[in-house]
């Protein structure tokens, strides 16, 4: 009975909300920083180790995307650029599921899925290190 009551409740589309709020806010923050002549501090990980961190290049990627320069965006961080471009699709998917009263899908509970996530993270990081971003 409780499960049925839960299924009748429409959940908050958190992913869609985060994308809808995050993308304009991020863009506004970039423009504000530019207008104020301010820059984000350099990456502490790179300063400490000499190697780029897993997200090094994302600020420059965001700046390039804001200027509509897709090639430069993919140059600075291909994985993050792809993620940002796919974000509206993910938001639409989440909003549709929420509207249809479907819960967030369960994350697969397998060792393989965990290895894929860790491997993808390390691969994206390795790519940035090899390219010397």
């Amino acid at each position: 009975m409780a499960e049925r009551a839960l299924a009748l409740t429409r959940r908050v589309p958190w992913l869609a909300a985060a994308v809808l709020l995050g993308l304009p806010l991020g863009l506004a923050a970039l423009r504000w920083l530019d207008a104020a002549g301010l820059h984000l501090p350099p990456c502490l990980f790179k300063l400490a180790t000499g190697l780029p961190c897993a997200t090094c290049g994302t600020t420059r990627m965001a700046r390039a995307l804001a200027e509509g320069d897709l090639a430069a965006a993919f140059h600075w961080h291909p994985v993050a650029a792809a993620a940002v471009l796919l974000a509206p699709l993910a938001a639409a998917w989440d909003a549709r599921r929420a509207w249809r009263r479907e819960p967030f899908p369960e994350v697969p509970d397998t060792l393989g899925a965990r290895l894929v996530v860790v491997g993808a993270f390390l691969a994206a990081w390795g790519l940035q290190i090899l390219r010397g971003v």
């Binding site: 959940r11 908050v12 958190w14 985060a18 501090p41 990456c43 502490l44 990980f45 790179k46 400490a48 780029p52 961190c53 897993a54 997200t55 090094c56 819960p103 967030f104 369960e106 994350v107 509970d109 965990r114 996530v117 860790v118 993270f121 990081w125």
Partner: protein, 241 residues
């Protein structure tokens, strides 16, 4: 509204979180309860921090206070070529802070936004890390983590309230190590909440919050976040939970 409820939860976390997991509010109401508590305390904490910072910055720009006397004395001994007048002129070139009331007005939307962002950030990262550690059971998904994080941050209101002592002159400095320990306690409490709500061993919840930091540190900006959290913990800021 019982002002001691977060303190009771913080003092008996295992029983408290178990009761909250069983019969506590759902994710939305738990978030709103946490937001109401943390926003009020966050404003107070932020106002006191701004007040102290603005006073310190003003005296730094004006080369006033006992510290400047010592610095100028030492500079005269080390290198007599640096003239205080030149130094003073250079410091007056530094931009002045906006008036305190303006800064406080900015805090009205920024504090709740910061609290909500911290909750969302912690929930997403901690859930991912708990999943990596095989701590997320079937049928206990994201909603459970959102509830756990909201409840942990609500308990963290007690930490923020205690942290306000860090703003007291002299006493705040003396209490800094104790307040740092309080910050660590409320960090561990977040892991306990995660584990209790998900029904997994406590160590998995605590390690998930630490793994969160390690992965964030690999993302560079994580180091800034860690430094910020430590600074806030030392100064009694909203680093709790």
């Amino acid at each position: 509204m019982d002002p001691w409820a977060p303190f009771r939860l913080a003092l008996k976390p295992l029983e408290g979180f178990k009761a909250e997991a069983g019969g506590g509010p759902a994710a939305g109401p738990a978030f709103l309860r946490m937001l109401a508590w943390r926003t009020g305390l966050g404003w107070l904490d932020g106002a006191l921090s701004l007040w102290g910072f603005a006073a310190g910055y003003a005296s730094f720009r004006a080369m006033e206070g006992p510290l400047w006397g010592r610095v100028l004395e030492s500079l005269a001994q080390v290198n007599g070529e640096i003239r205080p007048e030149d130094l003073k002129e250079m410091l007056t070139q530094l931009p002045a802070l906006p008036p305190l009331p303006v800064l406080l007005l900015w805090m009205l939307p920024l504090v709740p936004l910061g609290v909500a962002s911290a909750w969302l950030h912690n929930a997403v990262w901690d859930h991912g890390c708990l999943w990596l550690l095989r701590g997320v059971e079937r049928n206990r998904g994201w909603r459970t983590t959102f509830r756990a994080e909201a409840t942990a941050m609500w308990a963290g209101s007690a930490g923020v309230a205690i942290g306000l002592l860090g703003h007291a002159p002299v006493l705040g400095l003396l209490l800094a190590p104790v307040l740092a320990a309080v910050g660590v306690y409320f960090w561990v409490l977040r892991g306990v909440a995660l584990a209790t709500f998900h029904g997994c061993p406590v160590w998995k919840g605590v390690v998930a919050t630490l793994l969160h930091v390690v992965i964030a540190a690999c993302c560079g900006c994580g180091l800034i976040v860690v430094a910020w959290q430590l600074a806030l913990a030392m100064g009694g800021g909203p680093a709790y939970g």
